[in-house]
């Protein structure tokens, strides 16, 4: 289980879908969140009925003194992908992610991991689940201040009663892997925030769990450090292929990291989709508010705005190239149309007007997906 070589093989699904980021692909589901409701208060189950009949968060708080944290959340998280959950502060992100390893019990609903309902686990099974199958990275690091970096990273293993020397050996490898070699004997309060979160990341990776839960893991860091950490995470993910649930309130981060994004508002999912889908077809004002300030030319990919005509000649552009770069190619070539390729094979074409339209802000509420409620 601690064998380093085996890490690349973690995961039960054969990896034949890697380049397909289309949400319609029938990947099986690693983590399924179904009809999840969470209400905080003295008698939550009595409130479910009212919420199901459409009572708003505000009304529930004012009339019944209960906090509606999550309303009918449904997300299917494919294995070996990064699922981002995005929303403003107070929208229920932390509450949602804590349901996956049952740090919070739902009011009603199901959490199914690898086909097994987490809510039906007894205390022992739950503990084993947390030890081996899902690990977590925290917004404010939550390191053990009285332990050294090495012991912190080994924490998940020591808890499993793995012999100390074995645990430390693995700990050293992961410390090395997140670029903290030489800091093994430092204490958390001797490290900067970015370094502390590397320790947090290494601690989560050291247990070899297939699922990684990251609650605003990089939000407390300075922008430059945050980008560094994103790079580290993406580098690791290329190799480890974890199923990652990544919470953020930062759109740039969501777009950069997410294979899929779900947007949460007042405890309800407003939209689910790939970054491209969300940018091109924001489901409502809330979402378009979120995306209004991004540089669309640097995010929207050619593949998202092409059509499937295949002209004979013209410059070629890969479908994953962003619009800004595609415009450069066109202006250099002095033409108005380019062939779009995927793995060097033509799959369609894109014209200047389509590219320019993509940079302009989209109309609100044009999403076709049935995820909008």
């Amino acid at each position: 289980m601690l064998d380093f070589k085996s890490i690349g093989k973690v995961g039960t699904v054969p990896d034949n879908n890697v380049s397909t980021i289309d949400k319609d692909t029938t990947l099986d589901t690693k983590v399924a969140i179904r009809n999840l409701y969470k209400i905080f208060g003295s008698n939550p189950s009595a409130m479910v009925d009212r919420v199901e009949k459409g009572m708003s968060k505000k009304d529930l708080l004012e009339k019944h003194g209960h906090v509606l944290a999550l309303t009918d959340v449904n997300i299917d998280i494919p294995p070996r992908r990064i699922q981002v959950i995005m929303g403003l502060s107070g929208s229920g992100k932390s509450t949602l992610i804590r349901h996956v390893n049952r740090l919070i019990e739902p009011t009603t609903g199901e959490i199914v991991v690898d086909g097994q309902n987490v809510l039906e686990m007894n205390q022992n099974e739950l503990r084993e689940f947390r030890r081996h199958r899902a690990s977590m990275v925290f917004q404010r690091f939550a390191l053990l201040p009285h332990h050294t970096v090495a012991d912190n990273v080994a924490y998940g293993l020591t808890i499993q009663h793995i012999p100390k020397n074995e645990a430390l050996e693995s700990s050293h490898r992961w410390i090395d892997r997140v670029g903290l070699a030489g800091y093994e004997n430092h204490y958390p309060d001797q490290l900067s925030g970015g370094m502390q979160q590397r320790v947090g990341l290494a601690r989560a990776l050291a247990t070899d769990a297939e699922i990684l839960l990251m609650d605003e893991a990089f939000s407390a860091l300075d922008p430059l450090i945050r980008t560094d950490m994103q790079d580290i995470l993406l580098g690791l993910q290329d190799e480890l292929h974890k199923t990652i649930l990544f919470i953020t309130h930062d759109l740039d981060e969501a777009l950069r990291i997410g294979d899929n994004i779900a947007i949460l508002r007042d405890g309800a999912i407003v939209q689910k989709g790939t970054p491209q889908e969300i940018i091109l077809n924001p489901a409502d004002e809330y979402v378009s508010d979120f995306i209004k300030d991004i540089n669309r030319g640097r995010v929207v990919e050619v593949g998202s705005v092409m059509d499937d005509t295949k002209p004979e000649s013209g410059p070629t552009i890969d479908r994953f190239v962003v619009v800004d770069d595609a415009l450069q190619v066109l202006s250099k070539a002095g033409t108005k149309k380019a062939i779009v390729t995927e793995n060097e094979k033509p799959v369609g074409s894109v014209g200047l007007d389509a590219l320019i339209a993509a940079v302009a802000k989209p109309k609100v509420g044009t999403a076709r997906s049935g995820t909008y409620r």
């Binding site: 740090l103 947390r130 925290f138 690091f141 390191l143 009285h146 808890i159």
Partner: protein, 296 residues
């Protein structure tokens, strides 16, 4: 309107009967169980007597050496160690050595007893708000009730001697360690605890791996206060038969010996200061790396 001018009291006869009934039933209780309770505390008595003899019979240079080493381990400061040695030399020179050893013995046993009972009690309180609601008022009473009041039932039950003295000291000195253990554990960073839980720590692993280690500075502050309060009880304990520096102070009060009282009083103060400095330095070292550092 008679009840306005005169407070409606129970009536002299009834009141006397009530007090008498309470006294009688307690006397009966102590007659029935006093011996049993005394036997129960026998091991404590043996331990106390053994420690006292050990301290008094050990040659003084060895005692001073051991105390100096302990001071060094605790404080890591030559000033503190030097001050400690000087204090003990002066105490011996002025003929207070034996009484000081007896006081050290009872303070040590009382502190150990307070730790053995107080820390588990504090842990219990931290884990159950119900327990906290029950124990807190008891601690309030223990701390505020005049010592002389609880000396009465203790003497009725156990007579005059070392064990009742020890109990009196403990009743007074235990509350801080219970309170600070409870507080320390409740103040442990919720997020760190959540992290332990998220990695699958059991309740035991959380308690011994996270909560107690992180509460240690507070728990230790409780131990420090307990020692100080135990020292403050030395004179009262001497009233019911505990040997030590309190006895000459009592004698000095009765006979108006100013110098005797002052010297022994200062010896108690010296012990208190030594304990305090050593344990404060030790506490400061514990504090290091125990507060979660958020960024920098």
């Amino acid at each position: 309107m008679e009840w306005l001018d005169e407070f409606p009291t129970l009536g002299r006869q009834d009141l006397r009967d009530l007090k008498k009934a309470i006294d009688l039933s307690f006397r009966e209780f102590s007659r029935a169980y006093g011996d049993g309770i005394e036997t129960f505390f026998d091991p404590l008595l043996y331990f106390l007597v053994w420690l006292e003899k050990l301290l008094i019979n050990t040659p003084w240079p060895i005692i001073i050496f051991v105390v100096a080493v302990l001071a060094w381990i605790g404080a890591r400061s030559w000033i503190v160690v030097g001050g400690t040695i000087a204090c003990f030399l002066v105490i011996g020179y002025f003929g207070m050595w034996e009484d000081t050893m007896a006081t050290l013995a009872i303070i040590s046993v009382a502190t150990l007893l307070c730790i053995a009972v107080g820390i588990p009690l504090g842990i219990l309180m931290s884990r159950s708000s119900r327990a906290q609601a029950i124990v807190t008022p008891v601690l309030d009473v223990m701390q505020t009730i005049p010592s002389f009041v609880y000396l009465i039932p203790i003497i009725m039950l156990l007579g005059i001697g070392k064990v009742p003295g020890l109990l009196a000291v403990c009743i007074y000195a235990m509350p801080p360690i219970v309170r600070l253990t409870n507080l320390g554990i409740r103040l442990v960073d919720k997020e760190v605890l959540e992290a332990a839980e998220a990695f699958g720590a059991s309740d035991r692993q959380k308690l011994f791996g996270v909560q107690i280690p992180l509460a240690l500075p507070n728990i230790f502050a409780g131990v420090n206060q307990t020692i100080m309060m135990a020292l403050a009880m030395v004179v009262i304990a001497s009233m019911i038969g505990v040997p030590g520096l309190g006895r000459p102070v009592l004698r000095a009060i009765n006979n108006q010996y100013l110098a005797l009282g002052l010297m022994n009083g200062l010896a108690i103060v010296a012990l208190a200061i030594i304990f305090d400095r050593v344990s404060q330095k030790f506490g400061a070292r514990l504090q290091k790396h125990r507060e979660s550092g958020h960024g920098a």
